[in-house]
């Protein structure tokens, strides 16, 4: 009776609507507030960094895929997201060509050399950033700006912090606090450490308008907002950001420092919410994700307080990315009725 043919396939015959592209678009959407706000705070320079970083990432992906003669997958949004994430971890006044090279490196060496989406070991955006920071350290240092230059130095809080940032001869509140807590490291000696500045002085600027740092650090509040959105639409698992941030806060409190400051300052929030939660480079299982987050927190804490660097988020994530395969090897859900409560056996 049938003159036509019926489709045969193994069940299930229906699929959820979610796709890789829709996931990437949700993450990009979650990053939009902080992206737009970074341009508001830093002006057109920030836009150039974002633009060229994204172009670099897309170009890198495209060129390798053409060379490998595989399907071009720019439409899945993953390369765009990599470029955007990279830009948000760069200083606002970085020369445009460095952002472009960073983007290119991110998707080529960071991702495509491993075989493309799903196969890379390290977070591509952070691979790009690491290359940029190591290769052009002086450009990076010069890329940070003082709040005076961008016209929001009007409040007394900002003026006070500006002084500390100046004295620290560094760019970030984390660097400034290193001196406040340990005056002997100040380039001007203990006497040069500005008075009246405390970790709590920073809360408000870090949350709502922080010009001292990378693009993505302009507002902790907007990062948290993005994170809450991703949790609400179930794109990210709370276990990674919560265990990461929680570990940093706890260990910081243990050594008598202000945990809130160290959570809000630097790259911790953008790293914990948007970088460490990268699917490809983080563990699969829920248990593995907790271990991963705690490991991240521990390394960040060690680097922040016991290394010369004021910050340690990037290297923590890259390091734990490297451990992800081994975490996945040993930490996975052990099947049904195994290890857990056994079935009751009578007789």
């Amino acid at each position: 009776m049938e003159a036509h043919r019926l489709v045969l396939s193994s069940s299930p015959h229906i699929r959820e609507r979610i796709t890789t592209r829709s996931i990437m678009l949700q993450v990009i959407l979650a990053l939009m507030p902080v992206t737009i706000y970074s341009v508001v705070i830093h002006g057109v320079h920030a836009f150039y960094v974002i633009f060229f970083s994204v172009v670099g990432a897309l170009l890198g992906e495209y060129l390798v895929q053409v060379a490998r003669r595989v399907q071009i997958t720019l439409e899945d949004g993953s390369a765009f997201l990599t470029g955007l994430l990279l830009a948000l971890t760069l200083p606002p006044h970085l020369p445009w060509w460095i952002a472009l090279v960073g983007g290119l490196v991110a998707t080529t060496l960071g991702k495509q050399v491993f075989g493309g989406l799903g196969h890379n070991i390290f977070n591509p955006a952070l691979v790009g950033r690491a290359v940029v920071f190591v290769s052009w350290a002086s450009h990076v240092a010069a890329g940070y700006v003082k709040s005076a230059e961008i016209g929001i130095a009007s409040t007394s809080t900002h003026r006070l912090i500006e002084k500390a940032v100046d004295v620290a001869n560094g760019a970030s509140p984390l660097a400034a606090m290193k001196i406040v807590y340990d005056p002997s490291t100040s380039p001007l000696g203990p006497a040069g450490v500005p008075q009246g500045i405390q970790a709590s002085t920073y809360y408000k600027p870090l949350l709502f308008a922080n010009p001292w740092g990378c693009l993505g650090e302009v507002s902790a509040a907007l990062l948290i907002l993005g994170g809450l959105y991703l949790l609400a639409v179930r794109i990210i698992d709370w276990r990674i950001p919560v265990s990461y941030v929680g570990t940093v806060a706890l260990l910081t409190a243990v050594i008598g420092r202000d945990p809130l400051f160290y959570v809000l300052a630097g790259g911790l929030l953008i790293g914990a919410i948007f970088m460490a939660t990268d699917y490809v480079t983080s563990p699969l299982s829920r248990g593995g994700r907790i271990i991963y987050g705690v490991g991240l927190g521990l390394i960040t804490w060690l680097m922040r307080f016991w290394s010369n660097n004021p910050e340690g988020v990037m290297f923590s994530i890259l390091f734990m990315n490297g451990l992800t395969p081994i975490i996945d090897r040993y930490v996975f859900p052990h099947g049904y009725a195994k290890g857990g409560k056994k079935g009751r056996k009578s007789g």
Binding site: M1, E2, H4, R5, L6, V7, L8, S9, S10, S11, P12, H13, I14, R15, E16, I18, T19, T20, S22, I23, L117, G118, D237, Y279, V280, S282, L284, S285, R286, R289, D328, F332, P333, H334, G335, Y336, A337, K338, G340, K341, K342, G343, R344, K345, S346, G347
Partner: protein, 461 residues
Amino acid sequence: MSSPLISVIERLGRRRITRGVHPPDRKELTAEKPIRKVPAPETVIIPLVQHVGAPCRPVVGKGDRVYMGTLIGDSDAYVSAPVHSSVSGTVVRIAPHPHPTGKEVESIFIENDGEEARDPGLRPLIWQEMEPADIVQAIRRSGIVGLGGAAFPTHVKLSPPKDYPIDTVIINGAECEPYLTSDYRIMVERAEEVVTGLMIIMKALGAKRGIIAIESNKPLAIGRISEVAHTYDLEVFTLPTRYPQGAEKVLISRVLGREVPSGGLPMHVGVVVNNVGTAQAIAYYFRTGLPLVRRVVTVTGSIVANPSNILVPLGTTFSEAIKSCGGLTAQASKVIMGGPMMGIAQYTLEVPVVKGTSGILVFSSGEVDYEIPRAPVCIRCGRCLAVCPMRLVPTQLAKGAFVGNLEELERLDVLDCMECGSCAYTCPTKNQLVQLIRLGKAELTAHKKQQEGKAETSQSS
């Protein structure tokens, strides 16, 4: 039930599986359509295998006169279920015919005389006066198998070894597959029979506790069943609406907080689970003496003119069943026996309705994802781990199956997979997860058998 305190403690101790997925249920197409009896076609085609287990041999020959309920195929094997004629008429042919599971199966073609004459030998049975062993024997004679779709012979389920006493019988009214409403209609329209069926099963097993578990999206069924069940001191348990609540292991964990051990059966934790359709069929058989010769089938899909729940004689072809629901309004692109999550795609509509046919689902071309299998591309989002009710790692299992890594499959407990398909449903990169895992399971099982065979030959030599 014991004291309320114990009940509260039991409730707290329950391990609740929150995994699984929540596909759109699409039950509105047929949920409010009462079960409609459709006449038998001119010829029924009754396969000699409609169950899990040994095939039956025909006990009638060409030209034989049969009645509705006449035994036409049986087997000496323990795990098997006899088949009966669903019409009165004449055997015209015994030949292989396409079967909904995809194979060709020896089938008995019976020309319907239209008289619906029941076999004169059929007698009602008074279960209250029967010994448990006799109840089980009667159920074997009735040809009843699991009507939820698995089609496992019911009498085997009701004969656990003495080492495993059964304390609880759960009647599965979850019907968690989207689209299907046959169980729902049975619960709404035949609540009395469902409950009677439960009591017969409990008597056969000597079980003290009887529970009917129904998903929360079926309040009418919960109400009807509760009315009847409570008069007999039986329990009704409301399940959350979440696929696959109806899977035996998930159901037992949810209702009783007991986990069936890996590789084990519900009886290992003192439980037997039967589908509501099975319970109703048992009650009907004892009341009338008529063996299992028809069942309720949900014929549904957006291009079915009049989606319905029909009571249809076994052996009616899918095309006739669809015709009795007004036919199709557009070209069918995919036809599934069962639900969309675990059902089997058909290559022809000439297959007959069998005991395990809970639904016939028709998709148009716009509703079918035409996927060409490819190497799995995993973005490692972990969604498949999060939804797997068996707490497995589907993405790694699929990769292991793809490359044929049997060690990895064994390490990750591939044989615990019950193939619910939640992983493939939720995968954002549309990997063929459960499909590959099925292959892996088959390969590992075959490999194990081979190893065992080798071990035996080396022992005997």
